[in-house]
Amino acid sequence: MGNELSRRHFLGAAAAIAGTAAATPLLSACGDGAQQTTGANSEAGLKAALPAYVPNTPVKPDIPSVAGGPDVLTDPGFLSYPANPVATVSGKPGKGGSYTAVTPLWGTVPTADNSFYQAMNAALGVTLAMKPADGNNYATIIPTMTAARKLPDWIQLPSWWNPNFNVGELAGTQLADLTPYLAGDKVKKYPNLAAIPSGAWRAGAWGDKLYGIPSFSSGFAVAGVVFHRRDVLEAKGITADQVRSAADLMNLGKELTNAKAGVWAFDDVWTYMFPSWNLPLKWAVDGGKLVHKYEMPAFLDAMEWHYTLATSGYLHPDAIAGDNANAVTRFYAGKTLIGGGGAGAWNLADHQSGVAANPNYRRGAFNALAADGKSAPRIFLGASTSEISYLNANLKPAQIEELLAVANYLAAPYGTAEYTMVNFGVEGQHYTRQNGVPTATDEGKKDVQAQTFPFLASPSAVVSNPGGDVVTKDYTSWQIANVKALTKPVFWNMNITMPQWASTADAAQAVEDTVKDCYHGKKKVSDVQAAISTWKSSGGDRLKQWMTDNVLNKYGTGQ
């Protein structure tokens, strides 16, 4: 439910990051050779388009949010569900219009016109025909609609696509401009949408205009975390705060590895560890000049550490063989004790699976660390959301207002009457209260838990794991402990549309392949160096110039 949904969100984000090694800048491939606009937003222009942020917490969290800086906020934690959810929307938001909506769904598609859809339509005052499409094939389903210019009225276009699909090109032609309805104080007409932090709205902005409505946004979006088996480490007298440098971690590798017993300290950590060497996810600005992480000497230091980790025998052989699919099984079984992953892995389902494998199971995470143990540790802030819905450009203004009112209903905060309706359905029919926790009935599991509406709009993320309070407490306290380390990377939340050659250079597949071979101990650091110099001459340098001219000099760093 709530956890399920945020897990998916983070997994989505993590997948995109793992695939492209890009986190926040939503780099978009431009397929049209003729078009050379970047689609990026300028700071001043965007400010005028962004909706005002008016926090709204009708249900007080047990573990309140902690702010770390501008746009940085931990997710609030809830240990119980309100017995009498309050309503935030009076009356029905809709005026009887009929619309279709397409959202991705990872699971079994509910039957059309089921009792939950009917109840939702009655509550919303519109006829919203939900057409969920298979999430795994979503990227191949949508292009047929856009190429034929036959988008539904309301559609989810995940931003983790942006490297492959040019969503910016659809903005204005096929997707409606929402700036006139939501910019600045206008959003206050929709208080639940106004409670979504501005960072998330940036992810749906193109060319200084607002197009997207964010779902599952968070002020604490991170690429991932270095997890450990807290139960095992604590039994050996090791606590996470004793680990303060890369050298400490390497020592831990030696101490924890017992190959004869089939236990290796580490699974893959590169993707989540390398920023500890004071490296950006991609770009940094040094003395007003753009620098790519590949050009930094620290990159090779980070590479060296990971190469040593693998060749010293502290990395599980199956991880070296590239078997990521079973990483979580190895972790549950205690065959690996430290491994990287999306923060969304910290959820109730994980806790239940882990405890099933070992009753003492407890997931923990290391705090952000600086490799040298001296510098200030940093974690880069990821895009505030990776799920964004858009309205069709052909809708009339009155229709857009009607759907925005519906979105306001869907975005009602955790624990409200509307949130209960959207996430659990009708009491008695779709869920019952067990120990105060809304628990899905069979009908609810089929029709409500296969989430559709939250992909159109939803409130910002909360941490809630009914029945697994230890998870909520551990995760929120880790967030609070690390909120100060959260740093905005260069080009944060900026939507950049690139020509194809640049997006190929940006993906740097040949370098990333060699990097992977190196942290698996199969290639030397000098091989990575060679791959980097090939990359520079075959597009990398040209990319840097392009980014400098078209993004940095025009729109700034986005920080």
Binding site: G19, G31, I142, K260
Partner: protein, 313 residues
Amino acid sequence: MSSGPMSTGRPRLSRLTRLRRDRSLLLMTVPAVVLLLVFNYAPLFGLVTAFQEYDPLIGVWHSGWVGLEQFGQLLGDPLFWESTVNTLYLSFVQLVLFFPIPIALALLLNSVLSERLRNFVQSVVYLPHFFSWVLAITIFQQMLGGAGVLNQFLRGHDIGTWDVMTNPHTFALLVTSQAIWKEAGWSIIVFLAALAAINTDLYEAAAADGAGRWRRMWHITLPGLRGVVVLMLVLRLGNALSVGFEQFLVQRDAVGHDAADVLDTFSFYYGIATGNYSYGAAAGLFKSIISLLLIWGANKLAHAFGEDGLYRK
């Protein structure tokens, strides 16, 4: 028109007559032809993207035309040539080590007299064909991998470990043994069928004339198999650039991209995976053209040696 059996000496029949004569045969080929048209010929239209900067969101009709630019870039890409060399090398290794095995297996099976035993052995060697590559490789990894049964045993007895699953230098041998384990049993079917087609009278007559086992194999069995062997060889050569996809995709991280990248995985990683669809399409098209030339050449060669090849000349 006479109603007697048609003699070959007659002038060619009119098209309509032949159509009428073969109508039931033609009707039977319709499903296969439709299948080919829908799944093999219609998608050929997509090749147009190799000459474009294709953007899936705006579709084929609106994507920009770049002519041969993708091909120019491809031919200048060292990674593309590395993949080509890998493909040819793996193909050669498989030709030498894999190709003879199903033939030998078929001959061995054919000489087993007990039908029960033969069926049992045949089922056992068929079975792995139905496993997916992911499963097959997982089994190899569980047995021979760094944390697998073998190495944990060696480790437990303080004998050095044996790294075979992640060694790029022996990768060609690894994938060939995997291919043999998985596919050799399946490949014997066609040879068994050819063996079954040999007239048993020949064996009896030869035996009556005093020919031993080896002479019978040399003078009857092998010549009987020759046509099929040549046909399979022609097909194999034509497919020299397709050594498989999933097998390499799954093990690419294990041995590194420069040992595992073949042309198909190249198209995937440097085309589709980075959103550079046109580049992937160009690599695919290039591969298809070379394959077409190879199969044409191999077929010519077969005809030159007086064999049927893909079709009778």
